[in-house]
Amino acid sequence: MATVNLRAAPLEAAPTVELGRARALWIAIRRKPLGAAAAALIAIIVLTAVFADVLAPYDPLAARPEIRLAAPSWEHPFGTDDIGRDVLSRIIYGSRISLWVGLLAVGIGTVAGMIIGLLSGYCEGRTDLVLQRLMDGIQAIPGLVLALAIVSVLKPSTTNAMLAIAVVIIPGNSRIVRGAVLAAKQNRYVEAAQAIGCRHPRIIVSHILPNVTAPILVIASIWLGNAILIEASLSFLGVGTQPPTPSWGLMLSSTGRAFMEQAPWLALFPGLAISLAVLGFNLFGDTLRDAWDPKLRRG
């Protein structure tokens, strides 16, 4: 067992990370206007989802066949679909599905990935070997294809799409956490904690976990954009959210493609909403990465 000379190497104080991180993020946002724009974009999407009831001018499910396929106008800024539903209202409500699926899928995927990564990195040896090979096995299947296979086994629905996306997220997250744990274990305060007989759960929670939160948050923010994209792709292929629930991917595939010549706005606006959401989360993830974890920049 490694010996620790406490007198020669005094325990390093755990940095007051939270305050430092908030400041680093603020500085990064001020320096990079693109980061600020991304944060604003995300704020708009979140507020739209939260206040959809207030913001949507019409009921997203109310059909008015007499105004079907109406072009964009002051009354219906994004036009109407094939059964006369207001496209703007459906896009506003659609933000709820996208955000909900994104947040839950990333939440589940991140927590599961974190647990596996922590176990893998902390225990090393056989546990690490078995867990990481399992992650290799999952990662060998492209994300969308794996999500499609999972949804095919369960049943097409928003919840199952969300679970499938969570499974896709786990391996990458576990890798990042494992790396961060292996690095954190090298710190002398972890060795010292082991030397004075701290129990493993306490070492993991108090001494290692604070070191891995930054990479986890950075990866989670980048994954949010991807999760929204995968949900939209699954819905587009007909195995995600089911009609008549307004989902951006579904709007694009069902009415958007069927009436593309007569009503191109049906394809234009939902796609624009997906692109802006993905762009916002990608750029914000980049900003977080620059602010908190410069080592990940090339990753």
């Binding site: 090979r133 492209p142 949804v151 593309m260 191109p264 394809a267």
Partner: protein
């Protein structure tokens, strides 16, 4: 190099076995089994017939025997028949694989043709308008979903040029011109997304390499700009680009699923989506496994290429 190749091959085999276990396990986790769910949905099949189909498909065997049997079927290239069409899966795959291969290869070529020169231009003219345009194109390529881009391309091609995707696939050998007409737009859509990450990587590595001493020496010798950039800088800058291109193979394979569906190309992706929609699980598990095997093999090839390009890798 042999030792390195052997080591990488040894690592690829367990990964593939684990993937096969995951795919097999996935198809067996649904309550009851695939067939009960499937027949329950159609609702017009008796218990006796169900038991017979189950026996024919060997679903009555214990799981480990089913797995070993499936593994043997996959290795011996006889993965069984589709539940719906009754057609051998190999027959459908023989029709679908060339379509996907052509689409993926064309997308890769188009992507690289666009990405590398723009990446170099962006780096050599850093912080000029052409650099900004290049970077905006790259970021938008990463954020535009390929199913949206594909839908828009079809929509506006139909509105402006009255072009709609041809129904019925024509192979390259039958009529090269009609085949190219069918593949050019889908490959461009897929290639655009691929080019974005490659463009960003080329730009940053060329920028890095342009600051190296040997490039300064090349300038000092009085060499022409083009030779410095393309012969001295680009050659070394391309090594990390190979990794990025390799890392995108998964995106490329997943992208074919979407693009083939939009442009009505009868490839592997569309075959898989249709099998999923009809819950044709023998086809789903074979296709997913095949995609995983292709990806692992391609990643192996990329790693070996990387080791060949950069001798430091193989001695690690």
């Amino acid at each position: 190099m042999y030792k390195y190749t052997l080591r990488r091959l040894m690592l690829a085999v367990p990964v593939l076995l684990l993937s096969s276990l995951i795919v097999f396990g996935l198809m067996r986790v649904m309550p009851g089994d695939a067939l009960t769910v499937l027949m329950g949905e159609s609702g017009n099949i008796g218990e006796k017939e169900l038991a017979k189909i189950r026996r024919d498909l060997r679903l009555d065997l214990p799981y480990y025997q089913q797995y070993l049997l499936w593994l043997w079927q996959m290795v011996s290239l006889h993965p069984g028949d589709s539940i719906f069409t009754g057609e051998p899966i190999t027959t459908s795959l023989a029709k679908a694989i060339p379509v996907t291969l052509e689409l993926a290869a064309l997308a890769m070529i188009l992507g690289l043709i666009v990405a590398v020169p723009i990446g170099v231009l962006s780096a050599t003219r850093q912080d000029t308008p052409s650099d900004y345009v290049g970077r905006v194109v790259a970021v938008s390529g990463l954020s535009l979903p390929d199913f949206w881009l594909g839908t828009l391309v079809i929509t506006f091609a139909a509105i402006w040029f009255h072009w709609i995707p041809a129904i019925g696939y024509v192979s390259l050998w039958e009529s090269p011109l009609r085949n190219l007409q069918q593949f050019l737009l889908p490959a461009a859509v897929l290639g655009f997304r691929l080019s974005a990450a490659t463009m960003r990587m080329t730009r940053s590595t060329v920028l890095e390499v342009l600051r190296e001493d040997y490039v300064r020496t090349a300038w000092a010798k009085g060499l022409e700009g083009r030779i410095v950039v393309y012969k001295h800088a680009l050659k070394n800058a391309l090594i990390p680009v190979v990794t990025i291109v390799g890392g995108q193979l998964g995106t490329l394979l997943a992208g074919t699923v979407i693009v083939e569906t939009i442009f009505a190309l009868p490839g592997m992706g569309r075959l898989t989506v249709e099998a999923i929609l009809f819950r044709d699980y023998p086809v789903v598990q074979t296709n997913v496994m095949l995609v995983a095997a292709t990806l692992v093999t391609l990643n192996l090839v990329v790693d070996l290429t990387y080791a060949w390009l950069d001798p430091r890798i193989r001695y690690r």
